[in-house]
Symmetry: C2
Subunit: 299 residues, 2 copies
């Protein structure tokens, strides 16, 4: 469709830039490039395994087009015959438990009735919460948001708190970040501004993660920290399979299964009723897995 | 309610017998007894960790009662004011990759409008399929079923093939077994016969698993077998979080989270697009993860 093809080509180039930057930041791992084609479109799954800091990273691009189903009609509350969509999504799982898991996604959706919108988000899931890192992370996102609209950061930060939430555990997935969906441009000028906003977010993703890796990559850890990391990864699995809209949509719509589930951690653990000891760093992290924390103010 | 209380007390005793038998079979591990109480009722979660053969086992009993929700009305297609339910459910994850994962559940559901029914099932998920073990397992279930009704085994075996199916992977969870739901007794005599059927299935569970443990517990394995086991456990996680009705119902209804997720494996792994080599035992297993295999006939 009109805008989707243009944006898909921009996103596809962006994906390559992001891969190169993350490879530089990791210093050892390289992304394998795995193109795929299905009835509904095509994509490029980039996977890094066993880097120096990064244990497993997925960085996907896709560009699809199809009939607008009854389910979409009910979900979106509007009628159309065809839709097209393009996006980049990524998750990184590090070896070192003091380096956080990170996730980002930008996407564009267009209908043949002329309606289109952007969505996206970046969120950080530390195995061990470092409050100054969380504050710096949120400030980095706020700086980008503020260049576009002063309401973006507060609105999308609150949205992330509610979206990246593991309801059955009554805990947030991590320290949050930003999340937004169905932001519709009113004219072509606004469409370009929103496109630039998603490009800036995508570019910020490797830059932010490279800085975090630099700072934490050599922090020593023990077996007990690895065990806690595996349990937190278990929560990540629960979130992705039970709540994540992209994953659920992918599994139901018959997308590329391996690409959809490249977000799964390399190794995860479930321990019955594990309770960290009081005043441990693990308990400190659990205490901070709450909505509505003003991380920037905590700094 | 009328029948539920009586059946709950039988199931609760049965749970203890099953624990003792599995402890005997394992030879080292003991079940911890963890009672819980919530608004909707109470239960007893029994957990074994780090036995000799069993790495992690959950064996839960629960007895709940509550208002019949609109959701239940839509799901079950009938009206009632209150419901009560009781059941036993269990999953066992062994250390040795040549010992299979096993699962069983029996449950009774009663409405205040007089309608009631039984449900249940047992299924086996080998990390490495052993066709003669699968045949023996199916024959053991068929022998119990045939004492009650000649249609039970063929009907419930087919039901299990469809129920224990990982749709997004297009593979069965394991070699299946039996599954049934909403089997309504027409009179009190039939209610007792169905109750006895579920009791016989519950009793068969530790007996079957103890025999399998006996046979396989000392089979040597290597790191590559453990890795494959971890990947198969990843599939088990996918099944339980995406499809399993009990898990989904539990997560949505605010049940006891740790008891519901005691079914999760101790350690699981996801590897991007792993493909076993041709003619390997791993590929042999994948080739047999299909519906409609007549295991008994294969013997």
């Amino acid at each position: 469709m009109k805008h989707t093809s243009r944006i898909a080509s921009i996103y596809k180039d962006l994906q390559q830039q992001m891969c190169r930057q993350l490879e530089k930041g990791d210093g050892k791992g390289l992304f394998q490039q795995l193109p795929w084609t299905k009835d509904i479109g095509s994509g490029l799954t980039c996977v890094m395994k066993n880097g120096d800091v990064i244990e497993k990273a997925g960085l996907n691009f896709s560009h699809v087009e199809g009939d607008f189903s009854d389910k979409m009609e009910a979900l979106l509350g509007m009628k159309a015959a065809r839709y097209s969509a393009t996006g980049i999504s990524s998750i990184i799982h590090p070896f070192n438990p003091f380096v956080p898991i990170i996730h980002m996604n930008v996407r564009f959706f267009e209908l043949d009735n002329g309606v289109c919108w952007f969505g996206g988000g970046i969120d950080l899931t530390p195995h061990y919460i470092d409050e100054s890192e969380a504050a710096w992370f949120h400030r980095s996102l706020k700086d980008i948001c503020d260049q576009y609209n002063g309401d973006y950061y507060p609105d999308y930060k609150a949205w992330a708190d509610n979206y990246f939430f593991i309801k059955h555990r009554n805990e947030t997935r991590g320290v949050g970040g930003i999340f937004f969906d169905r932001v519709q441009p009113q004219d072509e000028g606004e469409l370009d501004r929103l496109l630039n906003y998603t490009i800036d977010l995508a570019k910020a993703y490797p830059r932010i993660y490279n800085q975090i890796m630099d700072k934490k990559r050599n922090k020593p850890y023990e077996q007990s920290h690895k065990q806690w990391q595996a349990m937190r990864r278990g929560r990540y699995v629960e979130y992705n399979l039970v709540y994540d809209r992209g994953t659920k949509f992918g599994l139901e719509s018959g997308g590329n299964i391996e690409s959809i589930l490249v977000s799964m951690p390399p190794m995860a653990q479930w321990e019955y009723s594990f309770e960290p000891s009081l005043e441990s760093p693990e308990q400190h992290t659990l205490d901070l897995l709450k909505k509505e924390i003003d991380w920037i103010k905590k700094e």
